[in-house]
């Protein structure tokens, strides 16, 4: 009886030891198989974060920048090239280049004669208040308007060789689309092909994108003047 009891205990110990192995293996497998929090997992679940703007065709103002120096109280003098001179009109608003919605001066006069020393045409602007005569001021003036165009900031353009691309949000998926640029300069790119009015263009987040990635739009809106052209 005593021997039987002992053998039973030994058997129980052996069974328990053996049973613990698959249990532990199961725990290890569960730990290895568990879903972890990862960047890839989050992007798969919610999409890659992007900022999107709806691009609409519109008029885009073009500005020219020049430097003036105070000559008398509020009046400052500077020079512009012939091309700029032809686009300017006396009395037009002059802006601060940092904020083109703030009118800081008006164009007082445009010299008709070329200044031989400077090789440019003189202009005079009148500030709304008197300014420090020892400092030179950079100002900008509206010179022309591009009518009914689709414009995007240069930063959103992707380049590969001679071709340009933009990333679009098409039904929540990222699509890299080839575009043709009609005009491009320091203040933006006017797209002539590959972009339609109303298209959603990805303004930030494109560095992480691959075609057909799901998108998580963290900021959406329409382009305003400020974003279209700087």
């Amino acid at each position: 009886m005593k021997n039987f009891k002992r053998k039973t205990i030994y058997l129980i110990i052996i069974i328990l030891s053996l049973a613990s192995v698959p249990l532990r293996i199961h725990a290890v497998k569960a730990a290895r198989g568990k879903t972890i929090v990862s960047f890839y997992g989050e992007w798969k679940k919610a999409g890659k974060p992007v900022e999107v703007r709806v691009i609409k065709a519109g008029d885009v103002p073009v500005y020219a920048q020049f430097t003036v120096r105070i000559v008398d109280g509020r009046v400052a003098r500077g020079f512009v090239t012939g091309e700029v001179k032809n686009a300017l009109q006396e009395g037009q608003e002059i802006y601060d280049p940092e904020d083109r919605f703030v009118v800081s001066a008006r164009l007082k006069s445009i010299g008709a004669e070329l200044d031989m020393d400077a090789g440019m045409f003189p202009v005079e602007v009148e500030f709304d208040k008197s300014r420090d005569p020892s400092v030179a001021f950079v100002v900008c003036a509206h010179t022309s308007t591009l009518h009914n165009v689709l414009a995007v900031p240069n930063e959103v353009l992707d380049i590969a060789g001679d071709e340009y691309f933009i990333w679009k949000d098409e039904n929540g998926l990222a699509k890299k689309r080839k575009v043709v640029i009609r005009l491009r300069n320091g203040y933006g790119a006017i797209i002539s092909e590959g972009l339609q009015s109303g298209d959603k263009v990805i303004f930030s987040g494109q560095s992480m994108l691959e075609d057909n990635d799901r998108l998580l739009v963290v900021d959406a809106g329409e382009t305003d003047k400020k974003e279209q052209i700087q």
Binding site: R24, I25, R32, I36, V50, V138, I159, S207
Partner: protein
């Protein structure tokens, strides 16, 4: 000798005390460090090449330096990285190399080719590199006024000098803030009006800003120094510098430029708890003591704060020694708990205070004495030496226990304590020497291991050797002497008188009696098993073999990595924005993360370092409250951070726990080799995709970053000739206009400040603005864009090289599983990628260290087994039965080790592998005890089986007691903060438990077979 120690009690006490006293005095001289001091044979060369793109840095600087350096002998590997304006070369030498000599050789090689390198590079910086070194402290200086230029000025000119004066400080790096600089911002429109280009402006300023010593005028005995002092004395003077245009017009600098006493364009930003600060990283010298530096800084903090200008505040942002102190305290606490547990075990087994005291006294005497040779060897108190002491506690006492147990046997026979002590000790001389010898021969290979791991383990191995030697010394001197002096044969207990105190005492006395009963019960059970073993000896061996094989099969369920990371109350968030991002954009992203950090309740503080490694990169160090006071682990906090950061556009990030080393490599790092970069990028992206889809990684980061856009002027040779210009002059004008030219110096109050001349930012923003840059040609002032075609394309990405081949590094940061397991899985999946000929990948980083460690530890393990076997053969003068039977426990212990790791959820890593080597010496001790007694009984004429039972029965208690003493000594490691210690604890406990079981089951049967085999076939 033993007789001498027993009879000369004072001499013995003094003999032991000499080492204890020396140990005490050595303690104050021992440095406290995180890891052992190692001279890593690594030299780095950093070269700044302002304005150059990565390709130019690679071809014009890095390649040339690599070629020159590669001629040096004993190079193990050369790695390099070429960034915008900066190149970095990392040369690792063989361990046998003297890093100081190699550093000089590298310096000589670089200096020899200086003339071949571009003139525009700054002087190459050649330094020895220690991957384990990190700033001791990060101090932050802020101001109520928010004037960061003033703050930087004070940090750079005053505090830096003060901090550097502290003993052991090698350098203090200042980052963030605004560095004072005189900015000359040229207006291109006004320059055109005045008919001048930037070259003339720079030349005029250089010519004006001169002090020239003109020599001495001597008259009689007197000499009068003559100097021309034309240097600028004020910023106004700079603004008033007279310029002459090419048409002869004269005007002042201020007429065409804004001259400002301002600051250098910000490229690094430091923020502490969301506020802009200036950071000061205090780095220790290779022989400096981090704890001392931290202590001194804290001690003098009040003094530094007192001398600060009004409104400035100085704080300690991060202090790495806090972790060292906590870690040291944790290990010391574990050592203390280990000692207490061991003493309790002795009390339970022995049931007598005097006996427990005699055995337990060995532990402190050995540990304290060990400090003396540690100091003599130039070791420090660090995680390795402390781990060595923590691991060896139980082993220290085992010799004394064996002696004590035998003395008690003699005492019960002779009733003369002195004779019992001498005879009892002499009798167990061989097993004690044998078991200590096996310990020593095992640790010697550990101490002599090669590779980086060998350097790390040297102090570990030798500390154990020192402690074991002192325990042996004390066991043969102090233990018998104390036995003779203190032990008396147990007398009959006095009858208890009723009373509370007596009740308590009687209860306490019952515990050892119960332990005795339990031991007897176990022995009785073992008797049955013993009979069963010899009734079915082959089945017993088969059963044991099956158990061993089964255990080894479980190895695939044990995680396997190089160095597990623990919750060290610190999380590091590394983030990168797209190439071409400005520091302001990176700062915006950091501010966004900081706002999230403010919502984390476990946050203690955070320090953001933006632009330290390129303006697109930032590092945020989040300090957490101690893990014991937190509800969430650091990994749970990292999970939350990942969820948050994953919703930030254009932010590539990885969050890591603070580790032992400051290595920036991922848990799984892969170098992809090839020739064509486009193909490599494609392959790297496929590999990254596979890694991401594996579900094991929290983040996967490529060293290749999509390059930023660049505008380039492709010159038209005809135009250049027509205008009488060359590429160098046009390039210089473009560079000065956009990047700036700052070689001119303005001096004030003995300090030097750069005068930077560049085009006004208002005219250096857009594509069109480049047209505003003018250059003076023989046909007059012309816009620079007339000299060629302006093109926009992609810049060259950062270029990484290894052993002079281009590579792309893929760093994977694990969220689960471990390096080796995941690497094997990845290897299978990478087979799906079609690698063209000449393209392949190789695991690097930790994987390389792991490979090296496996080889070294494997070698040490093999050597340990051979030496142990040889020692056993020598001691017992036996070649087969005794040594082979004893050695079977080694095999058993390896199985136990696997089971320990398997059941206690620990990984196989460098520490557990080391534990495995250590076990070789420890686990054989039980078998030595058992078989030694068996041999005695056999000599008395008993049959093998009977002798084996007598031996096992006689040493049953001693084996159980010594094994559990060792187990209890290392048991606290399982609850340690450090994963490394936990895994070592698991290995030791698993191995020792297995050794107890197999010593009683496998060893007798194997010995029985081998002894019969030896008797039959081999005649000694």
């Amino acid at each position: 000798m033993i007789e001498f120690f027993v009879k000369h009690k004072i001499t013995t006490v003094m003999f032991v005390l000499v080492f204890v006293v020396l140990g005490f005095f050595s303690y104050s001289n021992l440095m406290i460090e995180k890891t052992p001091k190692i001279d890593f044979p690594i030299v780095t060369v950093s070269v700044t090449y302002p304005g150059a793109n990565p390709l130019e840095v690679e071809t014009l600087v890095v390649k040339k330096i690599e070629d020159a350096i590669s001629e040096i002998s004993e190079i193990k590997k050369i790695k390099s990285q070429s960034y915008d304006s900066f190149g970095y070369i990392f040369v690792e030498f063989l361990l046998s190399a003297d890093v100081n000599v190699k550093s000089i050789e590298v310096k000589d090689k670089v200096e020899a080719i200086l003339n071949d390198l571009p003139d525009a590079i700054e002087k190459p910086v050649i330094e020895k590199y220690d991957p384990l070194i990190e700033p001791v402290l990060d101090m932050v200086l802020s101001s109520d006024s928010g004037d960061l230029r003033e703050v930087y000025e004070y940090a750079d000119k005053t505090l830096k000098t003060k901090f550097s004066s502290i003993r052991g400080v090698a350098k203090v790096d200042v980052y963030g803030g605004e560095k004072r600089q005189i900015n000359v911002r040229l207006d291109p429109m006004l320059m055109k009006q005045h008919y001048i280009s930037i070259n003339e402006v720079i030349a005029a300023l250089m010519a004006r800003n001169k002090n020239v010593p003109a020599g001495d005028i001597e008259k009689g005995y007197d000499a009068l120094s003559v100097r021309f002092t034309g240097e600028f004395t004020s910023v106004k003077e700079i603004a008033d510098t007279l310029l002459v245009s090419s048409d002869g017009g004269e005007f002042h600098l201020k007429d065409i430029a804004a001259v400002e006493d301002s600051y250098k364009k910000i490229s690094t930003v430091a923020r502490y708890n969301g506020k802009p600060v200036v950071g000061l990283s205090v780095n220790k010298a290779s022989d400096g003591n981090a704890v001392f530096i931290s202590h001194q800084m804290r001690k003098r903090l009040a003094e530094f704060q007192k001398s600060l200008p009004q409104g400035m505040h100085l704080e300690i942002a991060t202090d790495t020694t806090t972790f060292i102190a906590n870690e040291t305290l944790d290990t010391e606490r574990n050592i203390f708990i280990g000692i207490v547990l061991t003493i309790i075990l002795l009390l339970l087994f022995l049931g007598r205070w005097d006996m427990s005291f005699i055995s337990a006294i060995i532990i402190p005497t050995s540990i304290i004495s060990t400090l003396f040779p540690m100091w003599m060897s130039g070791f420090s108190i660090n995680m390795m030496t402390l781990l060595a002491i923590a691991t060896v506690i139980g082993t220290l006492i085992s010799n004394a226990l064996v002696i004590l147990e035998n003395v008690m046997v003699h005492l019960s026979r002779h009733d003369n304590p002195e004779k019992a002590a001498i005879d009892g000790t002499k009798e167990v001389l061989i097993p004690v020497i044998a078991s200590t010898g096996t310990n020593l021969v095992v640790f010697m290979p550990i101490a002599m291991m090669g590779g980086m791991v060998g350097l790390m383990m040297k102090s570990f191995g030798l500390t154990v050797v020192y402690a074991t030697c002192f325990s042996l010394l004390a066991s043969f001197s102090l233990t018998p002497m104390l036995c003779a002096a203190m032990l008396q044969p147990q007398k009959t207990e006095k009858p208890f008188r009723p009373g509370l105190m007596q009740m308590v005492i009687s209860r306490i006395r019952m515990i050892p009696i119960s332990v005795d009963k339990l031991t007897e019960f176990l022995k009785k059970q073992y008797k049955h098993i013993f009979e069963l073993m010899f009734r079915f000896p082959r089945s017993t061996i088969a059963f044991c073999c099956l158990a061993l094989i089964g255990s080894f099969l479980l190895f695939s369920y044990v995680e396997n990595d190089f160095q597990p990371k623990s919750d060290e109350d610190k999380v590091i968030i590394n983030l990168s924005l797209p190439q071409g991002s400005t520091v302001e954009r990176t700062e915006e992203a950091v501010k966004h993360i900081e706002a999230f950090l403010d919502t984390i309740p476990e946050k203690r503080a955070y320090l953001s370092n933006i632009g330290n490694n390129g303006v697109e990169n930032a590092k945020v160090t989040l300090d957490l409250i101690p893990s014991t006071e937190r509800k969430r682990s650091d990994m749970q906090i990292i999970d939350d951070l990942i969820v948050f950061i994953s919703k930030m556009p254009d932010v590539e990030a990885y969050c890591v726990r603070q580790g032992i080393s400051s290595m920036s490599e991922g848990d799984v790092a892969i170098d992809l080799y090839g020739t064509d970069y486009t193909v490599m990028v494609d392959l790297a992206r496929q590999m990254k995709d596979i890694m991401n889809k594996s579900g094991d990684f929290q983040s996967v980061v490529l060293s290749y970053k999509s390059p930023k856009k660049q505008m380039s002027l492709v010159p038209n040779e005809e135009k250049l000739n027509e205008f009488g210009l060359n590429a160098a002059s046009v390039g210089a004008v473009m560079r000065y206009s956009i990047y700036g030219e700052d070689s001119n110096i303005y001096k004030e109050k003995g300090e030097e400040y750069k005068v930077n001349v560049e085009m006004d930012d208002v005219y250096a923003r857009n594509f069109d603005d480049i047209k505003e840059i003018s250059i003076l040609s023989r046909k007059g002032l012309i816009p620079i864009n007339e000299l060629g075609e302006l093109k926009i394309d992609k810049a060259v990405p950062t270029i990484w090289r290894r052993d002079r081949n281009r590579i792309i590094r893929i760093d994977g940061y694990l969220g689960k599983s471990s390096m080796v397991i995941v690497s094997k899985k990845l290897d299978k999946q990478f087979k799906a990628i079609n690698f063209p000929s000449g393209y392949n990948y190789k695991y690097s980083g930790y994987s390389e260290y792991m490979e090296e460690t496996n080889v070294e530890l494997g070698r040490a393990f093999l050597l340990a087994i051979i030496l142990t076997f040889m020692l056993l053969c020598a001691i017992m003068n036996s070649l087969i039965a005794y040594p082979l039977a004893v050695m079977t426990t080694v095999l058993a212990s390896v199985a136990g080790m696997v089971l320990g790791l398997f059941y206690l959820n620990q990984s196989m890593n460098v520490a557990s592998m080391m534990g495995m080597v250590m076990l070789v010496g420890m686990v054989v001790n039980n078998a030595i005890l058992l078989l030694d007694q068996t041999l005695v009984k056999m000599k008395e004429g008993l049959a093998i089986k009977d002798a084996l039972w007598q031996g096992a029965s006689a040493k049953f208690r001693a084996i159980i007691m010594t094994s559990f003493a060792i187990i209890l000594g290392v048991l606290p490691q399982l609850w340690s903060l450090s994963k490394i210690k936990q895994s070592m604890g698991a290995v030791m406990i698993g191995g020792l438990l297995a050794s107890i079981i197999f010593t009683f089951i496998l060893v007798p049967v194997v010995f029985w077979y081998l002894e019969r085999f030896e008797r039959r076939f081999i005649k000694h």
